[in-house]
Subunit: 598 residues, 2 copies
C-alpha cells in the first residue's frame, strides 16, 4: 500500500467531529465557504501531495541544491513542482479576497498543508517561507511594497525568505549588525551577512524577496534599534531586472530538509544593495513577533507531518513484515507472524500514534484559535482566542519537534536493520525532523517564552482560560462515558500546573528570573504533556460518541482512539508530577556547575 | 582544542580510583602486568586514536566503501590504518600468551578500545568483528581451524565476520535457512543468503572468515538444528587461494558506521562454497550465546564512545561560542557570553556527562566482572562475577544505545543551526549511534533477555547479588560523606525492583509469559536507570574521598562528579516509580489493540 501520509479518517475526525470546522463558516470572513469547499480544497492538496510531491521526495533528498557560478540550482523536479504547488492556492489560502486570497480558515489550510509537508517537506517549505514574507508586507508594508512585492509573492511568481540570523548573533537578535544607510530616494543601502537563510537563493522563480532585519545608521543599540527591510534579489527598474548585490556566500550542507537550500547571504558586498523599510524604523522585531505565532504554528505542523508520514510507513511495515512467533506458540514449523503481533512493536506504534494524532489535533486546535482571534465578530471571543493562541504557540511549536523526533526514531526502530539504511525512508524523515527543535526559536527558547512570558502574561489569564477549557472538555468527556479516572487525572494535572506556575511566577516577581526559569525546559515538557493529554481526552469523548452512534465501519478507528488516549493519560501524564517537583524544588545540579567542572 | 575523545582524568578515575584495576594483577593470568603496562597500552591506543583514527573519521564517513566488479573497496585511508591498528595489539589483547595474546584484563582493553571507537567507530569495528570470530574458533574450533583461521585473524592478516541474519528471519534465528550438506572430506557445501554482514567484504586483507549459522541437511527444525560454520572467502589449497563462492549481492547504504561495509552475502550460488563445522552439530546457537556477553559489552562500549566524543565536542563548543546575555545583564553594549553560561545549555551538557560517564563506568565495571568470571582463582568469586556479568549485560548493551543516542542528539542541539549541518561532526555521531539499538539484539530483545531470563535465573540469585553490591556501595558512599538521601534513594530503588521482579516473575511462573513481559521495555528502562544511579553513587563516594584528600588540581573534576551524581539521582532515578507502576499494573493500552485500530 502506498504511504497515505495521514489517515484521512483521522483528519475528518479532527476537523469535523471535534473542532466542528464547518461552524467557522458562520463568521462573515469565511461565509463564502461550506464543508464542501473545505473538502474540495483538502482533497486537491491531498491528491497533489500523494501523486506529485511524495514521489519527488527521495530524489530531492538525494540530490540537494547546488551552488554553481554564484547561483543556487534546485532539483529539476522542484522547478516543475513549484508552479503546480502555486496553483493549489496555498500561498494566500487564508488571506482576504482583496489580496487575491480564498478566505479559508487556517484550520483548513493547515490540514491541507500538513499533507504537503508530510509528502515533501522542502517543497512545502518554499510555500511557508513565501507566505510568511508576503504576510509581513501585507501587515506592515506601504502600497508600493504591496503591489511590488506582496502581490508577486502571493501570486507565486516570486518567492520570499526571512533573513534574521547572523553568524555572530544566532538566536540573539539583539546583536544583529547588518547596516542600513538611508539614500535620497527613501530606500536604504544595505550591508551585512546573514546565515541559514532557507530558500535564500533558487533558480525556479524570477525573483526572491528577503525580509531582513537590519540596523539603520544611528539607531539605538540592542533590540530597539532593529528595523525590517524588504530586499529583492533583483530590483525592477522599468522593464529591467537589476542585480541587487545579494551574494550567495555558500550553501550549508544540511542533514535534512535537503530539497530546500539554506545559504549564507551577503548584502552589499559591492555597495549596491538596496532595501526598502517595511513599517516604522526600529520596530522590526515587533513586526516579526506579530507574525511569529503563525510561523511557529506552521513549523509545528511540519513537525507533526514529518512524524506522521514515518508513522504510516512503520505501521504498514509492521503489518506486512513477518518475524518470530508468539510466546505461547514457538513451533518453528509454524509460519512466522507479522511483527505488529508482538506487544513491544505495538508499544512503539501506539506511542507514535499518540504523538502524531495528539500533536495533529493540537495544531489544528491552535489554528482554530488563530481563526477566531482574527475573524470572530465578538471582541471577547477574539481576545480569548488570542490569549489561548499565544499560550499554546510554544507548545505547538516544540512538542512535535521534541516528541515528533522520538516518534521518527521509533519508526526507524520498527524497521529494524532496514531502518538503518537509506534504501528505506524513515531515516530521512528523522533527519528532516531534527531541524524543528532548532529553527524558529529552539526548544529552549520556546520553554522560556512559555514560562517567562505566556503563562504569566496578564496576571495568568491565558492559563486560567485554558484550565476552564480543559474542565469543559472533561465534563463533555465524562458525559460521553469516558473513564472518569482519565478525566480527573487531566483536570488534576491542570491544578498542579496552576499551582506550580504561581509558585514559579512569584520567584520572577521577587526579582529572581534565573530561579524562575531554571527548569523551564522541564516546565515545557510537563505543560506539553498535559496539553496533549487534554487533546486525547477530547478525542476519547468523541470516540465514545462515535462508538455509541455505531457506524460499523468506524468501530476499529474509534477503539484505536481509546487505546491511544489510555496510553497517553496513563503512561505519559503521570510523569508530570516528578517534573513539577524538579521545577518547584529548583533542583540545582546544573544551576551552579562551573565550566571547568565538566 | 582538538577533541580529546574522552577525558583522560575520568578514565584514570574509573580504572584506578573506583575499579582498582591494578589489583587484577594479583590474579595469575594477569600477573605479568602492572599499572605501568596497563597505562602504556592505554597510552598507545589513545595516541593512535587521536593522531591517526580521528582525522580519518570524516573522510571515511563521506566516502563509504563501494561495490565494484563484485568486490567491496574500502576507503584508501582504511587500508593504511588497518595494519597499524593490528600493531596496537588490540585483536588478541585479552587472550592468552598461548594464542599470541597479551593476557590483559578486558577492563583495560575496553578502556583502550573506547578511545579507538570514539575516534573512528568503523575502524574499531573491524577489530571487534575479527576478535569475535577468532574467539569462536578459539573456544569451539579444532586444531586445524585454530591454526588455519584463528591464528590469522588474531594476527591481523585475515579479518572475521559474524553471518547470522537472513532476510526472511531477521532477529528470529530459529528461522535460519542456510543449508549445509556434508561432503566426503568432512567439510560442508553451503548454500544460502545472509544480510547485514558487517565487514562481509573488503579489500584490505587477503582473506575473510565468515562465522556463519546454517542448518545441516536433516537437522531438527528450529533453533536446535542450527550449527556454526567457518566459511572463508578464499579457501587455501596448497599455495593457492581458491575462490570459495561467497558473493557480495549488494552493499547496504547505511546511515552511519559508514566506514565499515554492511553487505548482502550469498553462499554457494555456484555450488562451490565450502564451510567447516565449528563445535558440535546443532549447537551453533549455544556457541554464539557463550560469546554473546563479550560482543554485547563491546557494542555497549562503542555506544558510550560515540556519545563521549560528541559530548566532548559539544562541551568545547559551548565554552567558545558566544551568544546572548544573562537575565540580569541585558545591556547590548556588553559583550555576549559563552553559551555554557546559560543554565539550559548546562542542563544539556550535564545530562550528556551523566549518560557518558555513568555509562562508561558501567561498561568498565561489567568488563571487570568478565575478567573475574574468567580468571579469578576462587570458584565462588568466578560464579558471583559471572552471574553479575550475565545480569548486567543487557543493560550494558542497551543503555548506551538508548540514552547515548539522546546524548548524541543533545550534542547537536548545543551546536544550534551548525549542529544541523555536516560541516560539524555531531550529526555523524548521531547517525553512528542509531545502529546500537538495532544490532546484536535490539533494545526490545535486550529487555526480554533481562526480565525474561537474567533477573529470574537461578531463583533470582544474580539480582540478590547486585542488590548486596549496591548496599555495599551505599555504605561506602555514606562513609565518604555522600548525602545520605542519595544513598537511601539508590538502595530504596533496589528494594522496589526486587519486589517488582518477584511480582512479574510470579506471572511467568503461573504460565502467563506475555503478561510478565508486557512492560519489559519499561522494566529495562527503570533497571538501567537504577544501575546507572548506582554507578553515580560510587563515583560520588570516590569524589568525596578525592576532595578530602585535596589535590588542588583535581577539585573541579571531583565537584563536577558530584553535580552529575546529583543530577542522575535526583532527576532520573525518581522516574522509576512510575515505570514500576506501569509494569506492576500491567497498563494494557498496547497489550490488546488490534492491528486495524491503528
Amino acid at each position: 500500500m502506498p504511504n497515505p501520509l495521514f489517515n484521512d479518517r483521522d483528519v475528518e475526525f479532527a476537523l469535523y467531529e471535534i473542532l466542528h470546522a464547518d461552524e467557522l463558516c458562520r463568521l462573515a470572513f469565511f461565509s463564502d465557504h461550506t464543508r464542501e469547499t473545505f473538502d474540495l480544497f483538502l482533497q486537491s492538496s491531498r491528491k497533489f501531495a500523494r501523486d506529485v510531491l511524495f514521489p519527488a521526495y527521495k530524489p530531492m533528498d538525494d540530490a540537494p541544491p547546488k551552488l554553481e557560478a554564484g547561483r543556487v540550482h534546485v532539483h529539476p523536479l522542484m522547478k516543475e513542482i513549484y508552479p503546480r504547488l502555486v496553483e493549489l492556492g496555498m500561498l494566500s489560502a487564508t488571506r482576504s479576497h482583496e489580496v487575491g486570497g480564498q478566505q479559508l480558515p487556517l484550520t483548513i489550510a493547515s490540514a491541507a498543508g500538513a499533507y504537503l509537508a508530510a509528502a515533501n517537506l522542502s517543497a512545502a517549505g518554499y510555500l511557508m517561507l513565501t507566505t510568511g514574507a508576503a504576510r509581513l508586507i501585507e501587515s506592515f508594508g506601504n502600497d508600493w511594497q504591496k503591489e511590488h512585492f506582496m502581490a508577486r509573492m502571493y501570486g507565486g511568481s516570486w518567492t520570499g525568505t526571512m533573513a534574521l540570523t547572523e553568524p555572530q548573533a544566532g538566536s540573539s537578535l539583539t546583536d544583529v549588525k547588518t547596516r542600513a544607510t538611508p539614500l535620497e530616494d527613501g530606500s536604504y543601502s544595505i550591508r551585512g551577512s546573514k546565515v541559514f537563510i532557507s530558500g535564500g537563493d533558487q533558480d525556479m522563480t524570477e525573483n526572491i524577496v528577503h525580509l531582513t532585519l537590519a540596523r539603520i545608521e544611528g539607531a539605538p543599540p540592542g533590540i530597539k534599534g532593529v528595523s525590517l527591510f524588504a530586499i529583492p534579489k533583483f530590483r525592477v527598474e522599468g522593464e529591467r531586472f537589476v542585480d541587487n548585490d545579494c551574494t550567495t556566500a555558500g550553501v550549508f550542507h544540511k542533514i535534512g530538509y535537503r530539497g530546500l537550500p539554506s545559504i549564507a547571504l551577503n548584502f552589499g558586498e559591492n555597495g549596491q544593495c538596496r532595501g526598502y523599510l517595511v513599517g516604522e524604523p526600529n520596530r522590526g522585531i515587533r513586526c516579526m513577533f506579530q507574525l511569529m505565532n503563525e510561523a511557529r504554528v506552521g513549523v509545528g505542523m511540519q513537525g507533526v507531518a514529518t512524524a506522521a508520514v514515518a508513522y504510516q510507513e512503520a505501521l504498514e511495515y509492521a503489518k506486512v513484515r513477518p518475524q518470530g512467533r508468539r510466546f505461547e506458540q514457538r513451533d518453528p514449523a509454524q509460519p512466522q507472524i507479522p511483527i505488529i503481533e508482538h506487544a513491544d512493536v505495538r508499544r512503539m506504534l501506539l506511542r507514535q500514534k499518540a504523538i502524531v494524532e495528539g500533536g495533529f489535533l493540537l495544531l489544528l486546535a491552535t489554528a482554530r484559535y488563530f481563526d477566531l482571534a482574527e475573524h470572530s465578530e465578538e471582541p471577547a471571543e477574539r481576545r480569548r482566542a488570542n490569549l489561548l493562541l499565544e499560550l499554546l504557540t510554544p507548545v505547538a511549536k516544540s512538542f512535535p519537534a521534541e516528541k515528533g523526533f522520538e516518534s521518527n526514531v521509533l519508526a526507524i526502530q520498527v524497521h529494524g536493520g532496514y531502518g538503518y539504511t537509506s534504501e528505506y525512508m524513515p531515516e530521512a524523515w528523522m533527519r528532516d525532523q531534527k531541524l524543528n527543535s532548532i529553527h524558529e526559536g529552539t526548544s529552549g527558547i520556546q520553554s522560556m517564552d512559555l514560562l517567562g512570558r505566556k503563562v504569566v502574561a496578564e496576571g495568568g489569564e491565558a492559563l486560567r482560560l485554558l484550565i476552564e477549557q480543559v474542565a469543559s472538555s472533561a465534563s463533555s468527556a465524562r458525559a460521553a462515558g469516558v473513564d472518569p479516572a482519565w478525566c480527573d487525572a487531566v483536570e488534576r494535572a491542570g491544578s498542579l500546573i496552576a499551582g506550580l506556575t504561581a509558585e514559579l511566577g512569584a520567584r520572577g516577581l521577587a526579582g529572581d528570573v534565573a530561579a524562575m526559569l531554571l527548569h523551564s525546559f522541564d516546565y515545557l515538557d510537563l505543560f506539553a504533556t498535559w496539553v496533549i493529554a487534554w487533546q486525547w481526552l477530547v478525542q476519547a469523548g468523541a470516540a465514545k460518541r462515535g462508538l455509541a452512534e455505531g457506524r460499523a465501519a468506524d468501530q476499529a478507528f474509534y477503539r484505536g482512539k481509546l487505546h491511544a488516549a489510555q496510553y497517553w493519560i496513563r503512561t505519559e501524564l503521570p510523569r508530570i508530577e516528578h517534573l513539577a517537583r524538579l521545577c518547584s524544588e529548583g533542583e540545582d545540579s546544573y544551576a551552579t556547575i562551573a565550566a571547568d567542572c565538566f
